[in-house]
Assembly symmetry: C2
Homo-oligomer: 449 residues x 2
Amino acid sequence: MRLSRYFLPLLKETPKEAEIVSHQLMLRAGMIKQQAAGSYSWLPLGFKVLNKIIRIIEEEQNRSGAVQLLMPTIQSADLWKESGRYDAYGKEMLRLEDRHEREMLFGPTNEEMITDIFRTYVKSYKDLPLNLYHIQWKFRDEVRPRFGTMRSREFLMKDAYSFDLDEAGATQAFYRMFVAYLRTFHRMGLVGVPMRADAGPIGGDLSYEFHVLAETGESAVFLDKRLVDKPIPAIDTDFRSDLTSIFKDWTSLFAATDEMTDEAGFKAAVEPEHQLAARGIEVGHIFFFGTKYSKPMKATVTSQEGQAVEVQMGSYGIGPTRLVPAIIEASHDDAGIIWPVSVAPFEAVVINLKVGDAESDRASERLYDNLTREGIDVLLDDRDQGAGGKFAAADLIGIPYQLIVGPRGLKDGVVEIKHRKSGERETLSIEEAVGRLKSLIVPQRRDSV
Amino acid sequence: MRLSRYFLPLLKETPKEAEIVSHQLMLRAGMIKQQAAGSYSWLPLGFKVLNKIIRIIEEEQNRSGAVQLLMPTIQSADLWKESGRYDAYGKEMLRLEDRHEREMLFGPTNEEMITDIFRTYVKSYKDLPLNLYHIQWKFRDEVRPRFGTMRSREFLMKDAYSFDLDEAGATQAFYRMFVAYLRTFHRMGLVGVPMRADAGPIGGDLSYEFHVLAETGESAVFLDKRLVDKPIPAIDTDFRSDLTSIFKDWTSLFAATDEMTDEAGFKAAVEPEHQLAARGIEVGHIFFFGTKYSKPMKATVTSQEGQAVEVQMGSYGIGPTRLVPAIIEASHDDAGIIWPVSVAPFEAVVINLKVGDAESDRASERLYDNLTREGIDVLLDDRDQGAGGKFAAADLIGIPYQLIVGPRGLKDGVVEIKHRKSGERETLSIEEAVGRLKSLIVPQRRDSV
């Protein structure tokens, strides 16, 4: 992409309304624009990051055996009356009436609708296990939306729903999502730690939140620090096999938010040398809830013995529009965002220091073309602007590698690569530049898969 | 994808509520489920087709220089009061109030919001031309939604908006979309004919609808039949160049819906041997409207002479959720859907005629693995069912190539390929099958790009 033909409205000043660093940086980097309280447009740079996050989520959901579909945003109130949640949900639900005065709502979640889809088509235990997911806009009318897309009213959610004949099956379904989530967050360059969460009236131990560690996180979290470097399940994990041991292995180490433990409990449970008190951002929640919806909504299958059995269900959420700021909270410095390669809006930026200089233009264009041809997702800063502004912009929007091309270096046949994260700089010949960038970028992509 | 692990709820009976063939087939093929009047879930097979259509639209929009972003579904009423459309829009607009009793609405279109984005950031003629688009759910509360996703209330729309300094620039922006649309519909296997449409109070000749020719189309269309086979602009069309000649070339041949002409006018305008009276489905509309929104909303840029100039705008819509049934209307037979390769949910299906037979299972699995490895998007019918049901299912869901594997053929080392469209069958050795399928499928993909 040529920056001169792109739409990247960078802000010089930090907007006053933004309280946290990710919100500030997303506004300054031209990633989002507020449209109403808790409602945002995703400008091109932000949209591109959001899409890369969505692709990773989809790949890991599909790998685990979940099947993607798409439910509408507007739902009929009737389904919610069947489950009993229409009255219970309160003011967070955005209720509306259509022209025929039928009661409708903007879906805050989809347990009812997916249960309706299930009961319409699935009749036999032979069609289980089944896990259906979608990625769709939700609306929750929070009293005080804030922190940009970290806590917005209209937000994107990946919600998966598992259906099993019995609790043993549902437990394995839960473990599959547990493993998929470990892989998902890791691929985005995050440390995503599963933490036992409140299971509500259902009880049991199948309710886990995933928290990303970030100094600016909203909740206090307490964990065994060995969880931070724990190798995640490999790409060839067999999701058809029994995953109990992976789940046990991960959950045998202590990890809890301040809602589930206090410092005293934490210090009693973990040896001093392994204690890590940190801050976390909740980015996912996986949850088994048995027959909570299948019972009132009569979602049954015929068992092998010919009996009607209410299916055992679980739900599994990830917030893509929240992951964008979460990654920024976990990875930035004073100059701006530092994207991991896997979710970076562009993997590299070619900075033409002197637009209008024939040599500099020619070299920049050639490098841009060659990088594009090698499959690198690259931005060309071809704006007629000073070098200082270009460096600041590249740092702000957080592109992992900057390829700096200017008349001075070209005289000696060299260009410079700046690593955004480490600040490291390499001077190398024009001929070497594309190969070097490829050798830096491709392994990070591969590690992330 | 293994069908045994997929979610493909096929219906035996044609649902009574479905009046047109695409609606019937989409329900029977397990592509959609109605959730409320004019509101549908996209089940996995339908979702996959929808996504392939979206990818083609995105590729052609990007190629033409348009830049993608994403605006929210819920909009504040304030913007619509600025443009004057809040009162004018009537009952089709889904209006609602949030918990603080602020007036909101579910966006039926986005002229106001994109103009707001533009005026917030763009101040100079130097930042023009600009074309911003998004693909987002819209809601129009039609009195009588019908024909499935052909005319639903919640539907997906690609809407692009161009911004130019003057009418000459806006005209070229219009031509770029004109060319992008020709390419977009062609790549989906459709004959998409541009037809002069009512320009409304703006006047001028920059309002074109694109109609897909299909026997079951909703409107009568009259055209010069040379438009049907007219070669579309090539992939290497330079969208930075003057596109007037392409536009003139296409629009010099007669094409109009019955809203813009009648049979007498048509017969007077076109020589008898070139006359084609047919049926069409509107799948896109491109439209220049000047300063209709920039004027009331004060979207101006500073011109080269330092003056504030209201920008010249156009809007460009395509309905992906309508294209799915439109393609089916244009391409089906008594047995079911016939997908063009470019939008087929799967490019090929391996039909294992005898699940449980060791030889048949082994050969099917190996062919499935090899096709997957070769990058073919393939479905494996590994359900424990009779051959008749499998053949009927493969025909119904319209997969372009069926690879039929059974014990009888395997005894002689052969399998069979059935071409869905022509019905043609080839018997060939197992070793040849993968290469043959690849040689059938890949060129169709390439032609489509």
